[in-house]
């Protein structure tokens, strides 16, 4: 079994870098998207991910919750983690888990691990589609 792959969608680049580095250092594979549209394009291109982690408010026509709806259609049963400084737990459908900004590295890793498990061994390179 290979390392779990995470699709990270975040429009603030410094946050995106920090979170992506943290998750990669922990052993997960991470694909980064700067908008909901970018995230959807990665999904439509055949990207296979174990977890969607997305911000809610992003520029463009597709916010995090709309992207999560597409995700649930493509990957029923695979979890969605939303990160937000505003959203409340009762308004986060179709997300499975909410992590409120600002959050600690330990809290994020614990949340991801609860959703998809601890990182496994790296996958073979994905450049074979």
């Amino acid at each position: 079994m290979g390392a779990q792959a995470i699709l990270l969608v975040e429009d603030e680049i410094l946050i995106r870098i920090l979170v992506a580095d943290l998750l990669r250092d922990a052993g997960y594979e991470v694909a980064e998207a700067a908008s909901g549209e970018d995230g959807l394009r990665l999904l439509e291109s055949g990207g296979d991910f174990d977890l969607l982690m997305t911000d809610i408010k992003m520029p463009g026509a597709l916010d995090g919750l709309a992207l999560a709806t597409h995700w649930k259609n493509l990957f029923p049963g695979r979890p969605v983690l939303v990160s937000s400084g505003h959203l409340t737990a009762d308004r986060m459908h179709p997300a499975d888990e909410l992590i409120v900004k600002p959050y600690s590295d330990a809290r994020l890793l614990a949340t991801v691990e609860r959703l998809i498990g601890p990182p496994c061994q790296p996958r073979a390179p994905r450049l074979t589609a």
């Binding site: 680049i13 291109s45 390179p125 450049l127």
Partner: protein, 133 residues
């Protein structure tokens, strides 16, 4: 060109097309580089100003969107950041070639994929999403 250390040498891949950006970044990571993905010139400037990474090179699409264009970005980087190479590429093939050259320079000696295979991979992804290059 000085030897590059994976610990200290970071490459920014700047391209508005997420499929191209993601593929080139994955290629360079497999070569051993720390890679930052930027979707616009504004994101490149934000990262550069943050100063949190030891930037060694920027690989940017010649039509990179943002407040400043790719050529202006290159001038800005040259004026603000000594020793940072800026590679501008107008096509996927040229971007992959530039990434391949970075891989040949280090930090690892082996190249995981041929640059042409990266181009073909990106084109297959783009075909799936039915978006023009």
């Amino acid at each position: 060109m000085p030897a590059k250390s994976a610990e200290t040498y970071c490459v920014i891949v700047a391209d508005s097309d997420v499929l191209i950006r993601n593929s080139l970044a994955e290629y360079l990571r497999a070569c051993g580089y720390q890679v930052i993905e930027a979707a616009s010139s504004d994101e490149v400037v934000t990262v550069a100003r943050a100063g949190s990474h030891a930037l060694g090179a920027i690989l940017a699409d010649i039509e990179l969107p943002g407040t400043i264009g790719a050529f202006e970005l290159r001038s800005w980087v040259r004026s603000q950041m000594v020793g940072v190479d800026v590679h501008l590429a107008g096509t996927v093939s040229k971007a992959a070639k530039a990434a391949g050259e970075l891989c040949e320079e280090g930090p690892h000696l082996k190249r995981p994929y041929d640059p042409q295979s990266v181009v073909e991979f990106i084109k297959r992804l783009q075909a799936r999403t039915s978006k023009p290059e």
